[in-house]
Amino acid sequence: MNFYLTYFIVAAGLFGFVALFTMFGVYAERKVSAFIQNRLGPMETGKYGSLQVLADMIKMAQKEIIIPAAADKVLFIAAPVIIFIGVYLGFVALPWGPGLIPANINIGLYYVFAIISIETLGILMAGWGSNNKYSILGAMRSAAQIISYEIPAGFSIIAVVMVAQTLNLQDIAMQQGVLSAEQVKFFGLWDVTHIGGILSWNVFKAPHLLVAFVIYFIASLAESNRAPFDIPEAESELVAGFHTEFTGLQFALVFLAEYSMMFLVSMIGVVLFLGAWNTPLPNIGAAKLANWTTGAGWGIIWILLKSLGLVGVQMWIRWTLPRLRVDQLMNLCWKVLTPLAFLCMLISGVWRLWVM
């Protein structure tokens, strides 16, 4: 029975982590946006506004949950829950360190890719259930965008998988450091199996994987509905998109899902391209930095730092670039990213056959 108890503890721990990350994420987002726009951001509540998020949370929990009279009540109430669960289930298969993975599934990557698509359904549910034209327009834009951008994201992932030859996320992580069982080559030329560190990450295994990483990152921005791809909630056109009608705790759940999604896509990017829980420090001669800084505890630190770094880049991009128009968004996806991702997949096959 202990066996099942561990599962519950891990699930609760992951939920706690997601909630904590959302709290810090909201605060960081406000401070980063303030920094980029040369403002101060929240300053009144607590030292440097550090209690602002807590105050917001208490305010949100107190608010009345309003269900519009013409809304489809069942769908309206279920939608935020489904949106959040879809994202939260994705964390099941992500590795945190050597030997530290909630569920070591041999098709982990495929599973994560599948389970994220539930979010689309939740968003459509929210849009339809609200019975509001802005909500439904936002939901349809969101679904169209997520479905379109799944294609370049999927093909850039396939480019990595073809090089890694496995769908098990823990195995993919293992291949990118000193613990690797097979030979690791820096750009296919220099054997770095025992050097490890940043040199053995997947992005540096082959030149085209750098391109694949950029494609994946752009597509992941679109999948988590972040600027510059935030037309589903474009404030200037659609009020707030699919979550216009939600208040109080329901809105909090939607928000939680958005920030968890940011972290989830960043973490998948880190696992696939940026060495997962492996250290960025290589072995240099007698200084075995990579061997010293690889382990379960170090793994959690490294993967957290890397994922938070990627989340930081997402925030930086959000406050730097203007929003894309719908036709520009689709042009970028179908005419630029998709052919490039196909090319990456082709090169991956050739690379695996002739170079590795």
Binding site: D72, V74, L75, A78, I105, N106, I107, Y110, Y111, F113, A114, I115, S117, I118, T120, L121, L124, M125, G127, W128, I136, A139, M140, A143, A144, I147, E150, L167, N168
Partner: protein, 184 residues
């Protein structure tokens, strides 16, 4: 009862119950969302049958693709059309329903026949396979086998299906082109 058996019955109940709601529900949009539950229960049953790849594929294709497309069609068709469907009479036994009832009854007969006559535990080809050790171990290498088989033994069907999809894509692109677009 073991955990697996309990899970099987829970999944089977969820699948059948939600499928009934889908078929009997009057609100079409809710039916579609219930269908999502059915598909998920089905995916759970696949996992219990040790076909995890099929389960995940089921979620990718049906939940991520087909359900969303059905919803798209609904949301583009407007409320009036949907209301008209809901107004239809819901008498269970009427002349309109006779062909459907007939087909359903025939299908039940076939299903029951299969269930009772097949004797799944003692199929001859399974016995032969076990005797000659022509079986696959459940150790997570199933996807490798699927990949190898798709690229060798089932290459021709695989390519034929891809050509079919290609034809569908080109057809869709052709249909959605604006008439007289070359004049502007």
């Amino acid at each position: 009862m073991t955990m697996v058996k309990i899970l099987f019955y829970v999944m089977a109940f969820v699948t059948l119950g939600s499928a009934l709601v889908v078929a009997a529900g009057k609100n079409l949009v809710r039916s579609i969302f219930m269908f999502f539950v059915t598909l998920f229960g089905l995916a759970g049953l696949y996992v219990l049958a040790l076909a995890d790849f099929v389960a995940v594929t089921q979620v990718v294709i049906y939940v991520g693709g087909i359900l969303v497309l059905i919803l798209f069609a609904f949301m583009l068709s407007g409320k009036e059309a949907l209301d008209k469907i809901e107004e239809q009479s819901s008498k269970f036994i009427s002349l309109k329903n006779a062909p459907a009832l007939f087909l359903a009854a025939l299908f039940v007969v076939i299903m029951l026949n299969v269930v009772f006559k097949a004797q799944v535990d003692s199929l001859p080809w399974i016995k032969v396979a076990v005797e000659t050790h022509n079986v696959m171990p459940v150790d997570g290498t199933a996807i490798n086998e699927i990949g190898v088989n798709l690229m060798t033994r089932y290459l021709l069907p695989f390519e034929v299906i891809s050509i079919l999809l290609m034809v569908a894509l080109i057809g869709a692109a052709h249909l959605s082109r604006r008439e007289g677009a070359n004049q502007t």
